[in-house]
């Protein structure tokens, strides 16, 4: 079985991009009418940028859910009709750190917020994505330090190749604001998400032969790029995918290794 990339979408500090059905669309924050960097390093996401109909629940989500759900919505039209077999793999390094801090403040004030508590699990963004798109396939969330995003994508490739799913939606997401900054002063606010829809059938670029735990000889190294936290190398991968280059790519960080073949 071979994994085909059906669609890709991302929300980076530099703006939005989607590649769905062969259409490449870049959208700047200025085009959306708000290029003010907020406390999470990107403008505050608004439901109307992503949904045609009002979506009141979007405003109640934590920052991690918002950015992941928004990225998934950007490629939603590529999802298959049968959603029971659409699996999810997520990757995050920080998880729900920001809402953890918010909930803790309410708890210390003697009034713990149930509305915040439900989002104090890193995998809640996968739950929201599943509800939004009615995805009932298997679902896992991986954290592997700075390679969390690439590990999620490589795992999605593996699932397709091994016949464990016919479609996999892989989402890498991190939302870093004041809570991340409090860990160390070097942790700058930055939020980003990337979503890839892979299928066992299709005409998109082929991704194959995912490997973990070993350095790949002769592979092209995915440079860290501009993204921090669990999305290291994702922007470098995007540039490579859009350029149509092929070959084995490799990334390493914190002693971990991930590699796979593009094209």
């Amino acid at each position: 079985m071979t994994a085909h990339l059906l669609a890709y979408a991302r929300i980076f500090p530099s703006g939005l991009l989607s590649w769905v059905g062969g259409d490449l669309t870049r959208t700047s924050w200025r085009q959306l009418g708000d290029d003010t960097r907020g406390p999470l390093g990107i403008p505050a996401l608004k439901a109307r940028w992503f949904f045609e109909q009002p979506h009141p629940k979007f405003g109640r989500m934590d920052p991690l859910c918002k950015i992941a759900v928004a990225a998934s919505q950007m490629l939603a039209r590529a999802l298959p009709d049968d959603r029971d077999e659409v699996a999810q793999v997520g990757g995050t390094m920080l998880g729900c750190l920001e809402v953890d801090a918010q909930f803790e403040q309410t708890r210390l004030a003697g009034n713990p917020s149930p509305a915040l508590f439900v989002y104090t699990l890193p995998s809640m963004f996968q739950g929201e994505v599943a509800i939004l798109h009615k995805l009932r396939g298997r679902c896992t969330l991986l954290s592997a330090g700075p390679l969390s995003g690439l590990t999620a994508l490589a795992t999605a490739i593996r699932w397709i190749e091994k016949g464990r799913a016919t479609h996999v939606l892989a989402i890498a997401a991190d939302a870093a604001g004041a809570a991340a900054h409090a860990l160390t002063p070097d942790n700058k606010p930055q939020s980003a998400a990337a979503a890839w829809l892979l299928s066992a059938q299709g005409e998109g670029p082929i991704l194959s032969d995912a490997q973990f735990g070993v350095a790949a000889d002769g592979a092209r190294e995915l440079k860290p790029g501009d993204l921090r936290y669990g999305l290291r190398g994702i922007d470098t991968l995007e540039a490579l995918l859009l350029s149509g280059e092929t070959g084995r790519v490799h990334a390493q960080g914190d002693g971990r290794n991930v590699s796979f073949v593009v094209g």
Binding site: R83, D84, Q88, T92, M93, L94, G95, L97, D100, F103, E104, R107, P112, S113, P114, F117, V118, T120, L121, P122, S123, M124, Q126, G127, E128, A130, I131, H133, K134, L135, R136, G137, R138, C139, T140, L141, L142, S143, A144, G145, T151, R158, K162, R164, A180, A182, L183, Q211, F212, G213, G255, R256, N257
Partner: protein, 356 residues
């Protein structure tokens, strides 16, 4: 799948200490409950946790206790490590030091002298984390990424978590009663569990499946369809007549247990295999629960004894279940299905038993 579970370890609070597998098994067979009111959690509802004052980092300490029981069995070849947790090492971070919770565990274990291999990742999928991590570990070994796997699941019970569930009105004021008609909520617990996976003969996972309800962020799919989907996936290729018991998630909340009963009826018809749960004894241990229940289920499958479900007295008439309670029940050794469900609509089902 020719991958065996060659070693197991657990850490479960028992009085002021942590108990390994044999003590847990005796506790379960004896129908004992470890649920008590703990003042440091800031609640009147009972839970299962270590005595006040046990030093942080507690999730790591629990994990280390379970790990020590199995580490000598970890083959020296290439190994993969999968760590399951919902919140990781939360308390040090909340106190203003340490790294983020998910990644702190591996770092803290390294600080305690545990050398982890490069192929090390955390799985965090709410209350199915432990089961999901086992699936992840099995696949890494099956795919040849590693010759052996260490799966470690841990969560500490903190005021953050306890008061969070209380804010959702999810905790029972008197102690959880899984599948009982009068059940009124869960009781929380903390624990760690560890298993070592390696190719070869021995007790093993015979099937697994996972699904998402795609229904509600913090409540189960009322008709049990999501969990039934996971069970059907786990049972593909398994002889259902060999299932001698179901280790249910059995949190003791009104909706979870009703959902599970519906799912079991959907899959097995009007007479599902005998059901039991361990959360009335040690509480809901969140990210550790799935792996801990796999270890208990393996023991049920190989020894042919089902422990009683503490807290259960009388079930419901709708979708009735044969819940083992009061005393242990002997059955033929066979296969045991263990299920878990969690926030975000996650479901897992794992079938365990002796070698083929």
């Amino acid at each position: 799948m020719d991958i065996a579970i060659i070693a197991t370890g657990v850490a479960v609070p028992h009085g002021d200490a942590m108990s390994p597998s044999d003590d847990l098994w005796s506790m379960l067979l004896g129908g004992q409950s470890q649920l008590r009111v703990h003042a440091h959690l800031g609640l009147d509802s009972p839970a299962c946790t270590l005595a006040e004052g046990f030093a942080a980092p507690r999730a790591t300490a629990l994990a280390h206790h379970a790990l020590r029981q199995v580490i000598r069995d970890l083959p020296p070849e290439r190994a993969a490590v999968v760590i399951a947790t919902t919140k990781g090492e939360l308390e040090p971070w909340l106190a203003g030091h340490g790294t983020d919770g998910l990644n702190a565990l591996a770092q803290q274990l390294a600080d305690m002298g545990v050398k982890l291999p490069p192929l090390c990742r955390v799985v965090s999928n709410a209350c199915v984390s432990g089961a999901q991590a086992l699936i992840e570990g099995l696949e890494l070994v099956a795919d040849g990424d590693a010759d052996a796997g260490l799966v470690l699941a841990t969560d500490a019970l903190t005021p953050f978590v306890a008061q969070g569930f209380h804010s959702l009105q999810g905790d029972s004021p008197t102690g959880t009663r899984p599948f009982d008609a009068t059940r009124d909520g869960l009781s929380l617990g903390e624990s760690a569990a560890a298993v070592v996976l390696a190719r070869g003969p021995g007790p093993r996972v015979h099937g697994y499946g996972a699904s998402n309800d795609a229904n509600h962020i913090s409540g189960p799919d009322r008709d049990g369809g999501g969990l039934a989907l996971a069970i059907e996936r786990a049972l593909a290729g398994v002889d259902r007549s060999r299932i001698v018991a179901i280790c249910a998630h059995g949190t003791g909340t009104v909706y979870n247990d009703a959902m599970e009963a519906r799912a079991f009826h959907r899959v097995f018809g009007s007479k599902p295999p005998p059901v039991f749960g361990i959360k009335g004894s040690i509480g809901h241990t969140l990210g550790a629960a799935g792996l801990l229940e796999v270890i208990v289920s393996l023991r049920v499958a190989t020894e042919g004894v089902i422990p009683p479900t503490v807290g259960y007295e009388k079930g419901e008439s709708e979708h009735p279940l044969d819940v083992v309670h009061g005393k242990p029940r002997k059955v033929k050794p066979g296969l045991v299905l263990t299920t878990n469900s969690g926030f975000g609509g996650m479901n897992t089902a794992i079938v365990v038993g002796g070698g083929p």
